[in-house]
Symmetry: C2
Subunit: 214 residues, 2 copies
């Protein structure tokens, strides 16, 4: 009975996600679903990408509460919509459908959707995005792909952020990478630091290459 309800919710979500994807396709807006733990660096990574894309960018900021992140993004003078989910631990396609009504997507080439800080539920909800990435940060530990296979198995790229902290924490990068390739052969892995900018150019170049509308 419980499983039936969950199945219905996910099917309804997929229908709306399909509509969202159609909207993005019609307007040539390449859309990226950004997922991560709290504090892994979702906003920082988006802020690093914006000036490097040389293109029109919009952002949808998901958070349980507060507008701290959307205020940071708004300083770049780009369109941004904040979704506060209240108690909800993930974004769903209907929330995105509402948010894009408030965004002028005409002429936008990249739309980043910053999901809720959570490595579990966001994995199950298609938002209509073209690619999904997860950011995992060095201080969180090298076991995250083993502990959260549901999310790591669905992404197109894993961004390993805060590599500037590698000298100060125990982190085996081979163990981390092996955990990803065991469940997801296609995922690209980009070690980066939003603090020192190391590796940022590589992942932005990859993102540009993935954009079918550029």
């Amino acid at each position: 009975m419980k499983i039936e309800i969950v199945k219905n919710i996910l099917e309804a979500n997929d229908q709306v996600a399909l509509l969202n994807r159609e909207t993005f396709n019609n307007l040539n807006v390449f859309t990226v679903n950004v997922m991560a733990s709290p504090g892994a660096g979702k906003t920082s990574l988006i802020l690093e990408a914006i000036p490097r894309l040389n293109s029109s960018v919009a952002v949808i900021e998901g958070d349980v509460a507060s507008s701290i992140d959307s205020e940071k993004v708004a300083r770049f003078n780009i369109p941004v919509v904040q979704i506060n989910t209240g108690g909800n631990c993930h974004l769903d396609a209907s929330m995105i459908r509402e948010a894009i009504k408030k965004l002028s997507l005409e002429g936008i080439r990249y739309l980043f959707i910053e999901n809720i800080g959570n490595l579990i539920c966001p994995a199950s909800f298609d938002l209509g995005e073209h690619i999904r990435i997860v950011i995992s940060s060095v201080p969180e530990g090298d076991d995250k792909p083993y502990k959260y296979p549901g999310l790591f198995s669905t992404v197109d790229a894993v961004i390993l952020n805060k590599i500037d902290l590698l000298p100060y924490v125990d982190f085996n990068i081979e163990y981390f990478k092996n955990g990803i390739t065991a469940i997801n052969k296609k995922a690209k892995i980009f070690p980066v630091s939003c603090k020192t900018d190391e590796g940022i150019d590589s992942w932005v170049e990859w993102l540009k290459g993935e954009n079918r509308y550029k």
Copy 2:
């Protein structure tokens, strides 16, 4: 309609939590619900406490997948039960009810319940614990109490872990503390490092003081 369902689920959970608390009270088992983001240091903090408590300890390990953490705890030769929730992003009282059937709680004085790595949903589910703590780690950033007020407002203590990383990241400890006291006047705040052991003794002493059964 949706709200009604959530309300029913939470009411049913509270009934079972009441039974759990009765079991713990009858057996004089002081029970601690440990919540945090993925990789904030839940297992490490529990492992630091075990040898300092000079008392019989048991652990319930919650995880979406894997038994990495319960294997670490089992090395201490103490009773440990692993709950793998599959896709579920929080523990609930019924899972704990099942888990304690597999634990021999006779003579146990401290039971740690390591919740799922998530700062959102665990806040809503009473497990029957006596106290609840959240671990927030320095690299996650100083804005966590502002972004996750639902959880930070319900805890008895906030453990700020990984203070050994303070020299390498931007973290304003006053801003962090103000975010907590604005929504939770009673919460104690313990800055610690599970790596250098700094501050660990203070929080374990506090824990001993809170234990009404010692």
